[in-house]
């Protein structure tokens, strides 16, 4: 199911079934890959993925839009995934101690779950990067099945690496920034890696799974990370 909608002079919106679902999201990422591989004369400048839509930009006029629609329609036939093909999976160390996750006990109370139950949920869910936005590199991860309210007063500074919950969504803050999500933990990995050509660790379509580490492990990883000797790609698997 795919609908192509004009979006101004130089973009087209492809709407999939409007539902947050890993299989729908996987199929739009497959389409995105195929779109970015289309011939250069179609002038495609970007394909911006979100939960269940893809916004496609192009350079050069209405005639081109028609050609792109034709190309999209032929790609459509190939878009019938029934299973989830995993591409990139990350195992992310997270410390859930109170000073790293100041809102954890509040979330437990709100959700009427014990801390063990909540951590089991957070460390067994496959969290898909549905989209990046809000600030560059901020990964919108779905979904835990929780329904967490936002903080009534946003924090002025949420430390880089913090794991936040809002609604059924999970997010990782790439840098120190203001934020209203409930903070339940922190990873010692640097999500923002300015030394790299593409400075963001996670791409839309990746999958993450958290594992719990102690404060000592957090500190140890942080020291290696700060010395520049931590290779974040050892936490990544291509499947």
């Amino acid at each position: 199911m795919m609908e192509i909608i004009p979006y101004g002079e130089s973009a087209l919106l492809v709407n999939f079934e409007q539902r947050i679902d890993p299989i729908i999201n996987a199929s739009l990422h497959r389409l995105r890959k195929n779109i970015l591989a289309l011939p250069a004369e179609l002038g495609i400048t970007f394909a911006l993925p979100s939960y269940c839509s893809l916004l496609i930009g192009f350079k050069g006029g209405k005639a081109l839009a028609e050609k792109i629609i034709v190309a999209l329609s032929s790609l459509k036939e190939e878009q019938l995934p029934t299973t989830l093909s995993r591409s990139i999976q990350w195992k992310i160390p997270v410390c859930f101690e109170t000073d790293f996750g100041p809102d954890l006990s509040e979330v437990c109370a709100e959700e009427k779950r014990s801390q063990d139950e909540l951590l089991r949920l957070l460390t067994t869910a496959d969290l898909r990067v549905y989209a990046c936005g809000f600030i560059p590199g901020f990964a919108y991860l779905g979904t835990t099945g929780l329904d967490v309210s936002r903080r009534s007063e946003p924090r002025k500074i949420v430390p880089a690496g913090s794991i936040g919950l809002a609604g059924s969504q999970t997010g990782i803050y790439p840098c120190d920034s203001p934020g209203g999500w409930k903070i339940v933990g922190q990873t010692p990995l640097r999500v923002l890696r300015k030394e790299r050509k593409i400075p963001y660790l996670f791409s839309p379509g990746d999958e993450l799974r958290f594992y719990s580490i102690s404060r000592e492990e957090f500190d140890a990883l942080k020291i290696i990370e700060n010395s520049g000797k931590l290779d974040p790609y050892t936490f990544r698997n291509e499947i």
Partner: protein, 279 residues
């Protein structure tokens, strides 16, 4: 070879704007680029640069610059005074600025953003390629113009000057259908004030009486030009430094010409949105 240009006075809000870049939009990085792309292209054309070369964007009041070497400049966009060593020059023409000269770009008399095109490839990076800042330029800082072999093809077509007025052409957006006949009357073909919070990220328009259902939409991609409508009836027009994902209904998308016109509308002034007949 890099020629140095010193910033003796920054103006109100002056930035170096590279061409819009959509390559990292999927990581949440806004494309950026000059707010008035037509004026920026014209400035580049006049000094013989490729049309999407970096330019200086000035807001309301321009900077004072000192040129270490002889370069060509052109000032376009919002109407303002152009003084080279205190001699007055016309806008929209190529001016050769001899070494040691001081360029003063004055306050906008009409419009909001002026552009200074300077021959060569502008950057905030020095000879050692120390990291560029994309932020606001400050007094005492320097910018650099790299001269020499420019591989890019220089546009031989002069950008057509646009007529600046407050009529902004809009295509229907993907969620246009949430609007009733009555809503259309409250949104289109009538003057609506641009609020003072408006800037390079977004223009906020004065609240309309339109009421729509909240929270019906799953967040989806947005680009500059998108008009979002909040449940309380406020329109947000996303500009060049906008977010890349949004959850408000997208009722319209401003044309490229409309975006250039919007760039010249000052907060506090009014705009009139009208639906394009050619979608």
């Amino acid at each position: 070879m890099k020629s140095e240009i010193q910033i003796l006075r920054s103006g109100i809000y002056s930035t170096l704007q590279r061409a819009a870049d959509f390559s990292q939009i999927h990581f949440g990085v806004s494309p950026g680029g000059p707010m008035d792309q037509n004026a920026a292209s014209l400035a580049n054309f006049l000094v013989g640069n490729p049309e999407d070369s970096p330019v200086l964007e000035c807001t309301l009041d321009g900077p004072v610059l000192k040129f270490e070497e002889t370069l060509k400049i052109a000032v376009t966009g919002a109407k303002c005074s152009v003084l080279v060593n205190d001699a007055e020059f016309e806008m929209n023409q190529c001016i050769e600025v001899p070494e040691g000269s001081i360029l003063k770009v004055g306050r906008s008399q009409n419009g909001f953003r002026s552009y200074i095109g300077i021959s060569g490839d502008l950057s905030t990076e020095n000879e050692n390629n120390e990291p560029a800042s994309r932020g606001e330029l400050r007094k005492g800082e320097k910018i650099y113009s790299a001269q020499g072999e420019n591989a890019a093809v220089i546009s031989l077509q002069k950008p057509k000057p646009i007529v600046y007025d407050q009529r902004i052409e809009v295509f229907t957006g993907p969620e246009f259908s949430i609007l009733s006949e009555n809503d259309l009357k409250l949104i289109f073909d009538k003057p609506i004030k641009v609020l003072s919070e408006s800037g390079r990220k977004a223009y906020l328009l004065e609240k309309t009486a339109v009421k729509t259902k909240a929270g019906e939409m799953i967040s989806s991609g947005v680009i500059p030009g998108t008009i979002q409508l909040t449940p309380e009836g406020t329109m947000i027009i996303l500009m060049r430094d906008c977010q890349t994902i949004g959850g408000y209904p997208r009722i319209g998308v401003v044309t490229s010409g409309g975006m250039n016109r919007l760039a010249q509308v000052r907060p506090g002034e009014e705009v009139v949105l009208f639906l394009s007949s050619g979608q």
